[in-house]
C-alpha cells in the first residue's frame, strides 16, 4: 500500500512536469500563429499579446502579393527539389555498388566517404565560393546540386537500407532476365527501395529548405534569394516596407509544410536523422 501511494505521487509529479514542458515547447508554435494574425504585436501593457487578432487573412493576402517572397519560394523549391533528386539518385547508385559488388578498395572508398562527413560546411565554403565565382555559377542553382551529389550521409543511409531490404535473389533474378546494371537500378533497386528513397528525399529536402549559410554565400543577388534570406531581409525592412504580421505569416507559411510532413513521417525522420549522424 505504501509503495502504491509513493508511485501515485511520483506519477502526478511526472504528469505535471511533462504537461508544463509540453506547454513550454508548443508555446512558440502557438505564438507563430498568433503573431501571424496580428498586424504588429500590441503593447503588452495595454492589451494581451496572447490572443488571436483578426489580421490573419490580411497578412496572408499581403504576403502573396509580395513579389520578393513569392520569388524566394520558387527559388527554394527549385533548389530543394533539384538537389534532393541529385542526392537521391547519386546516393542510391553509390550505395548500391558499395553494398552489392566486391572490388578492390571498396572498403577504403566507403571509409573515405564516411570520414568526409566530419568536415563541416564552413571549412569548404570559401574555396567553394571561389570555384563558383570562377565557373560563373554564383546566383544559380548549380552550386547546391553540385554539392549534394554523392552526399556521404545519403550514401550511408542508402547502404544501410540496402543491406537489410534488398535481397541478392532479387538482383540475380534481374540478371538472369538479362538486365544490365542500369536496368537493374531502374527496374529493381529504385522500386524496391521506394520507402528508403522517400525518407532520404524528405531529409534532403528539409535540410536544403532550411539551409542558410551556403545560400547566403552563393546567392548574393536579390533574384536568387531563398526563403531564409528573404525572411532576414523582411526583418531588416520592418518599419519601412514590411510589417511584423507579414514576416510572421511568412514564417508560418514556410514552416507549416515541414511540420505537417514531420507529423506524418516522424518515426522515419527521427530514426534516420539519428542513424545518419551518430553511426557514421
Amino acid at each position: 500500500m505504501h509503495k502504491k501511494t509513493k508511485r501515485t505521487i511520483f506519477l502526478i509529479a511526472a504528469a505535471v512536469i511533462l504537461i508544463i514542458l509540453t506547454i513550454i515547447f508548443l508555446f512558440p508554435i502557438y505564438m507563430m500563429t498568433i503573431f501571424a494574425s496580428q498586424k504588429s504585436p500590441p503593447d503588452y501593457l495595454k492589451s494581451s499579446p496572447l490572443i488571436y487578432s483578426n489580421d490573419f487573412l490580411n497578412n496572408l493576402n499581403k504576403l502573396f502579393y509580395d513579389f520578393a517572397f513569392i520569388r524566394s519560394i520558387i527559388n527554394s523549391i527549385a533548389i530543394a527539389v533539384l538537389s534532393t533528386v541529385a542526392q537521391v539518385i547519386s546516393c542510391t547508385i553509390v550505395g548500391f555498388i558499395l553494398t552489392k559488388y566486391k572490388f578492390k578498395f571498396r572498403n577504403a572508398l566507403f571509409n573515405i566517404i564516411i570520414a568526409t562527413m566530419m568536415i563541416p560546411t564552413f571549412v569548404k565554403l570559401i574555396p567553394l565560393y571561389q570555384m563558383m565565382l570562377f565557373l560563373k555559377w554564383i546566383n544559380t542553382y548549380l552550386p547546391f546540386i553540385a554539392v549534394s551529389i554523392g552526399n556521404p550521409m545519403g550514401i550511408f543511409l542508402m547502404k544501410q537500407f540496402m543491406e537489410r531490404g534488398l535481397p541478392d535473389e532479387m538482383l540475380d533474378a534481374g540478371r538472369i532476365d538479362g538486365l544490365s546494371i542500369y536496368q537493374i537500378l531502374f527496374y529493381v533497386v529504385f522500386p524496391v527501395l521506394k520507402p528508403a528513397v522517400a525518407v532520404l528525399a524528405t531529409l534532403g529536402f528539409i535540410t536544403t529548405w532550411n539551409d542558410y549559410m551556403t545560400a547566403l554565400v552563393m546567392l548574393p543577388n536579390k533574384d536568387a534569394f531563398t526563403i531564409p534570406i528573404v525572411l532576414q531581409h523582411m526583418l531588416l525592412n520592418l518599419g519601412s516596407s514590411g510589417t511584423h504580421g507579414e514576416l510572421m505569416m511568412a514564417i508560418l507559411v514556410t514552416q507549416l509544410p515541414i511540420i505537417v510532413v514531420f507529423l506524418f513521417a516522424s518515426k522515419q525522420i527521427i530514426g534516420n536523422i539519428l542513424a545518419g549522424s551518430i553511426k557514421s
Partner: protein, 300 residues
C-alpha cells in the same frame, strides 16, 4: 558477386561510380584541401600571391581581437546554448523511461519537432517573443510580477538569453532521443534482478542506470560540442548580419563561424577566413574523434 561477367560489369560499375565520385571529390574534398592552402598565402590566386606560411595563424592567435571575441562567443554558446540542453534532456529521458508513463510517442513528437524547423525562422520568432515593448515573454513576466527582459540589441545578457533560448528549444528533443536510445540499451534483466533483490529505485539508478549513462552522457555532450561550435544561423540572425560587426553591439553575436563569413563577405580576407575555419575545424576534429571513440567503446 552477383554478376559474373566480370569485365563488362567492371566497366558498367565504373561508368556509374566514377562520375559521381569525381563530382564529389571536386566539390567536397578539393575545397576542403584548398582552404588550408589558401590560409598559407596572402591574396591566393592573384598575381601578387605571396607565401606567408603560418603568419596568418600567428596573427589570429596572438593579435587579432576579433578572433579572441569570436572564440569567447563560441564558448558562451557552448555554455548557455548547449549545456542546458543536456540538463533538461537527460532528466527528461529518465522520466520518460519510466514504464508507468504513457504517451511516450506523443512527447517524443512534441520535443523533437522544433529540431526540423529552420533555425532562421526560429530565431526570428524568438526575437519577436522576447521583444522588449511588445514581446509576449515580457507580458508573462509582468503578470507574475517578475522583472522584464531589456532590449536585446543593447543588452549582452538579454542577447545571450534570446540566442540560447532559440538554440535550446531547437535541440533539446534531439538530445532527448539520443538519451532515450542509450537508456533502451540497458538490459531489462538487470532491473528485474534488482527487483528480486528488493533494491529501491535510488539503488537501481545508482548501480544500473548511472554506470550505463555516463559514457552515453559523454558521447552526447561531445556530439553537442561538435554541433555547437558550428552554430551560425541564430547568432547571425540575432546580430542582424555581418554589417553590424563594424558598428559594435554585443560581441556575443559573432562566434567564429560568423567571423569566417564576415572575413569573406566584408573584408575579402580569404586567407584569414580559411585560417579561422581550419583552427575551428581542428578543435572540432578532436572532439569528433573522442566522440567516435566513445561510440566504438559502447558498441562492443
Amino acid at each position: 558477386m552477383i554478376l559474373r561477367r566480370v569485365k563488362k560489369t567492371n566497366r558498367e560499375i565504373l561508368s556509374l561510380l566514377l562520375p559521381i565520385i569525381l563530382i564529389f571529390v571536386v566539390f567536397n574534398l578539393v575545397p576542403f584541401i584548398i582552404s588550408f592552402i589558401i590560409s598559407l598565402f596572402k591574396d591566393f590566386g592573384t598575381k601578387k600571391s605571396e607565401f606567408t606560411g603560418i603568419e596568418t595563424y600567428k596573427f589570429l592567435l596572438t593579435e587579432d581581437s576579433y578572433f579572441r571575441k569570436g572564440t569567447f562567443a563560441t564558448l558562451m554558446i557552448l555554455l548557455f546554448g548547449v549545456l542546458p540542453q543536456h540538463l533538461i534532456a537527460l532528466p527528461l529521458a529518465l522520466l520518460l523511461n519510466n514504464k508507468f508513463i504513457r504517451g511516450k510517442n506523443f512527447f517524443r513528437l512534441v520535443f523533437f519537432m522544433p529540431y526540423i524547423l529552420s533555425a532562421v525562422a526560429v530565431s526570428l520568432l524568438f526575437m519577436s517573443m522576447f521583444s522588449e515593448k511588445s514581446g509576449v515573454i515580457n507580458y508573462l513576466l509582468n503578470i507574475f510580477g517578475l522583472p522584464i527582459i531589456p532590449r536585446f540589441n543593447d543588452d549582452a545578457g538579454s542577447f545571450l538569453m534570446v540566442m540560447s533560448a532559440a538554440i535550446n528549444w531547437r535541440n533539446i528533443g534531439w538530445n532527448l532521443i539520443l538519451y532515450q536510445a542509450g537508456l533502451s540499451a540497458i538490459p531489462e534483466a538487470l532491473y528485474e534482478a534488482a527487483d528480486i533483490e528488493g533494491a529501491s529505485n535510488m539503488t537501481k539508478h545508482r548501480f544500473i542506470t548511472l554506470p550505463y549513462m555516463i559514457p552515453i552522457f559523454f558521447f552526447t555532450i561531445t556530439l553537442s560540442i561538435v554541433n555547437g561550435m558550428q552554430i551560425f544561423d541564430e547568432p547571425y540572425i540575432l546580430y542582424g548580419g555581418t554589417l553590424n560587426m563594424i558598428v559594435g553591439r554585443s560581441d556575443l553575436g559573432r562566434p567564429l563561424t560568423v567571423y569566417i563569413i564576415w572575413l569573406l563577405q566584408q573584408t575579402h580576407r580569404i586567407d584569414r577566413g580559411s585560417a579561422v575555419a581550419w583552427i575551428l575545424f581542428i578543435v572540432i576534429l578532436v572532439f569528433t574523434v573522442i566522440n567516435k571513440k566513445l561510440l566504438n567503446r559502447f558498441e562492443k
